[in-house]
């Protein structure tokens, strides 16, 4: 179970990292929409973000309310919320 939590935290950290890179490059692209390097950077990390989110949701539960697998019931409200001390 402890192993599990560590693996889960690692995946969540990866989601946070990719998501942050995307937030940063998106606002850069707003101001520099023709920058080829930024467009490729965006594309690369968007794919990694999507793959990591889908792996996390399969293993541990939803990241957004549209990531719920109803076979397990309404898991959106299960587990601790992001602001809890024991969540991070």
């Amino acid at each position: 179970m402890i192993e599990n939590r560590t693996e889960r935290n690692k995946l969540m950290k990866a989601i946070q990292t990719y998501s942050f890179l995307l937030t940063d490059v998106c606002m850069y692209l707003d101001a520099y929409p023709d920058n080829k390097n930024a467009l490729e950077y965006y594309d690369k990390y968007r794919k990694m973000f999507e793959e990591t989110v889908s792996e996390y949701e399969k293993k541990y539960g939803p990241v957004t309310p549209l990531g719920v697998n109803i076979e397990n019931g309404w898991t959106w409200i299960e587990d601790s919320w992001p602001w809890e001390y024991n969540n991070n």
Partner: protein
């Protein structure tokens, strides 16, 4: 439209509760240069922006600021968990506690409730972008002051992240100002090109 993601933008994990720190950091939630005012300023300014690049920056920066509201709230929430009455009285947190217990209420460190008078939406690209540049610098100074006041490493880590983002946002608003100047009527005064009187949308 927004959709919640079940994560903080950057991890907040504070080992030691400390209500005196919470009282200071509260200013970055509901104070004059706090994250709540920042998100409302940008998300409200974007409707009348004449240039798509600037509308994009305001939308995306305003959205990130909502994530910062959540991070600051999480810091305050974790700093005020499991408090004893003695800790509440001796830390000076009692003046907040009497009105809000340990709920998260947007106010300045001085106790003044959040006010929309801390932000402006002027409906003019140059007035608004210059306001935004100043706002990012003022928020950066508030974070510098918080870092001068505290030394808890868990809190400092998250505060340093937020401070860094103010610098990046300042950079993007600088881009916005340049874009607006490039697109304006070259026969007009630099930095004055009112959008209200033109039917160009």
């Amino acid at each position: 439209m927004w959709q919640y993601e079940r994560k903080l933008q950057y991890p907040v994990k504070i080992k030691n509760p400390n209500p005196a720190l919470a009282k200071v950091i509260l200013s970055q939630l509901g104070g004059p240069d706090g994250e709540l005012g920042a998100s409302l300023r940008y998300l409200n300014q974007r409707y009348t922006m004449p240039y798509k690049e600037i509308t994009g920056v305001l939308t995306d920066v305003g959205t990130e600021e909502l994530g910062h509201v959540e991070m600051i709230s999480s810091i305050i929430y974790q700093l005020t968990r499991n408090l004893t009455m003695d800790e509440i009285k001796s830390s000076g947190f009692d003046t907040y506690f009497v009105d809000h217990t340990t709920g998260i209420y947007p106010q300045a460190a001085s106790g003044t409730p959040f006010s929309a008078s801390a932000l402006q939406v002027k409906g003019d690209v140059f007035a608004d972008i210059n306001e935004d540049l100043a706002a990012e610098q003022k928020a950066r100074v508030s974070y510098d002051n918080i870092l001068r006041l505290i030394d808890d490493p868990d809190v400092c880590d998250a505060i340093r992240f937020l401070r860094q983002r103010e610098l990046v946002h300042y950079q993007r608003f600088g881009d916005c100002l340049r874009i607006a100047q490039e697109k304006m009527d070259s026969q007009n005064f630099y930095g004055y090109n009112p959008q209200f009187d033109k039917n160009n949308r």
